[in-house]
């Protein structure tokens, strides 16, 4: 479905991604794991057309995404929930979630998409009329993911969905991610903390300094000394318990 090959991206003259290759099949949950600054957000921003690659290909079905603008990529059915959630403060929760049903009218009926979003994040039901500025970090994260879902995307890019959330709310977001996956959508989830990687992922991709250093199963990575050295660093950065 999504095929990234040898993707190289510069930001302001410095090389951030160095020939990244990545494949996502329909319905797959892929985790892109890497330390802070490894290049996860840059990868997502390149996939969404915010950054133009220096070289390499990004293909979606048989289209070349690297030539399209962000809105065209969204129209093809790729949903994005950014690291900072980016929920509109000026719109209510309801308006935030419904907006993509107005802009992308192909696919399933709007009502179905909206009710699916609330089914996956039932907590949001109570906040429908609340303004985007009056939400906690966890609620914003849920709105952001629900909104990407309401685009009726076939692939969701979730940038660090658990980052900065309180321990009480992490399970709610995790359940949401699991439910989205159950519904058959493909997900690429960026994560910097090994502890947050769900054990049911289909594929783990480890990124380090703009390069992919591992692609395979989670258990395979846990048994790989070289890979563990790097991702366990992310674990070590957490307070020891």
């Amino acid at each position: 479905m999504l095929n990234v090959s040898e993707l190289t991206v510069d930001i302001q003259g410095s090389r951030i991604l160095r020939g990244i290759s990545l494949e996502v099949r329909a319905g797959e949950l892929v985790c892109l794991l890497g330390r802070n600054g490894a290049g996860k957000t840059t990868t997502f921003r390149s996939l969404m057309g915010y950054l133009r690659p220096v070289s390499g290909r990004i293909s979606w079905e048989d289209k070349d995404l690297a030539r399209l603008s962000t809105w065209q990529i969204a129209q093809l059915g790729i949903g994005f929930s950014p690291e900072e959630s980016e929920v509109y403060a000026d719109l209510t929760v309801e308006e935030n979630i419904e907006l993509p049903t107005w802009t992308r009218t192909c696919g399933r009926p709007a009502a179905e998409r909206i009710s699916e979003a609330y089914r996956i994040f039932p907590k949001l039901e109570r906040y429908r009329k609340r303004g985007g500025a009056e939400l906690s970090g966890g609620e914003r994260k849920m709105v952001s993911i629900a909104r990407a879902l309401a685009l009726d995307a076939e692939l969701l890019l979730l940038d660090e969905p658990f980052e900065g959330l309180s321990p009480a709310i992490i399970p709610l977001v995790a359940e949401g991610v699991a439910a989205i996956r159950q519904s058959g959508k493909a997900i690429v989830m960026a994560e910097s903390n090994l502890h947050h990687v769900p054990d049911y992922i289909d594929k783990l991709v480890v990124i380090e300094r703009g390069e992919i250093i591992y692609t395979g199963s989670l258990s395979g990575a846990l048994g790989d000394v070289e890979v563990m050295k790097i991702i366990a660093g992310a674990v070590d950065a957490e307070p020891q318990t």
Binding site: M48, Y50, S69, T70, W71, A74, Q75, G79, F80, P82, E86, Y88, A89, D90, L91, E95, L99, P100, W102, T103, R104, R147, L151
Partner: protein, 293 residues
């Protein structure tokens, strides 16, 4: 009752100023461009309206259609905003000084456009038209009904605009684009289209304002620059980007101007800018502005 007269004259000024300032606010709110050329759109609306009213005469249309004809001519000529928006595209993501230079360039170019099409001398239309809708007697003073129609039209436009932004889908998309253009793109919105639409609407507000002023005063080469000065006072007093601010700012500036012109004409602009200075000292973001956070 001289004051009642001045008050109504001030409200009339405010109604016109509000339309132009509203366009300025809309364009700034969404595109983050301070459109110095707003005065040119106002003047363009005025010059074009004179031509339009001439046609109305020529076609022997009943002059009862004056207000609709003026609004329509403003809307028509305001659509030049759409191609002009293309000129701004290269500077959206650049330093605001480029945007100011470019819109200032537009302001200068428009002066030549006016000279070319309408000549350098002030142009006005048949002054009897001002009284075409009759007058209303307010404590012995004859106030043209036209003034009330313009004040009413301005309030109506404000309400329609406010409600559309608040309640319609396109209005919500415009507000979302204003808040976070990049995110809106990721939700499938072609924000270039939104920009073209908003800029055109902003221009139309200016041209309609210019068209409506024309029964009361002449269209001249200096009106663009004069209006920029007042519109900026409105926006600074009300707060950059705020529609409510545009309304309150327009009323303050409109009333100040009307009273100053009659009571102390030599300090007309000074008095307006005194208010600006006071607002800037007490509340630098303007009465309705949001402080940057």
């Amino acid at each position: 009752m001289q004051y009642a007269n001045l008050f109504l004259a001030g409200l009339f000024q405010a109604a016109i100023l509000f339309l132009v300032a509203c366009g300025l606010q809309l364009i700034f709110g969404v595109q983050k461009v301070v459109n110095l050329a707003c005065g040119s759109f106002y003047a363009l609306g005025a010059f074009f309206a004179i031509t339009a009213v001439g046609l109305l005469h020529q076609w022997q249309m009943p002059m009862i259609f004056l207000v609709p004809a003026l609004v329509l001519s403003g809307v028509l000529v305001g659509t030049v905003g759409a191609p002009l928006e293309l000129l701004l595209r290269p500077v959206y993501r650049r330093d605001p000084s480029y945007q100011l230079l470019l819109t200032f360039g537009l302001l200068l170019m428009f002066q030549d456009v006016f000279r070319f099409f309408w000549g350098a001398a002030p142009r006005s239309m048949d002054s009897s038209l001002y009284g075409i809708y009759g007058t209303i007697d307010i404590s012995g003073l004859q106030i043209p009904v036209y003034n009330f129609l313009v004040i009413g039209a301005s309030i109506l436009i404000a309400m329609i605009l406010g409600l559309s932004l608040k309640r319609t889908r396109i209005g919500r998309i415009v507000r979302a684009t204003a808040e976070n253009r990049n995110m809106t793109e990721a939700l499938g919105v072609n924000s270039s289209k939104v920009f073209t639409m908003v800029f055109t609407l902003g221009c139309i507000l200016g041209t309609v304002g210019g068209a409506l002023v024309i029964p009361t005063s002449a269209a001249s080469m200096t009106m663009a620059a004069e209006l920029v000065v007042e519109a900026f006072a409105v926006v600074v007093i009300g707060g950059l980007g705020s529609m409510a601010g545009a309304a309150v700012g327009a009323i303050i500036v409109g009333l100040m101007r009307a009273f100053a012109v009659s009571l102390a004409p030599e300090v007309e602009i000074l008095s307006i800018y005194l208010v600006v200075v006071v607002v800037l000292l007490i509340r630098p973001v303007g009465l309705f502005g949001r402080s940057a956070s």
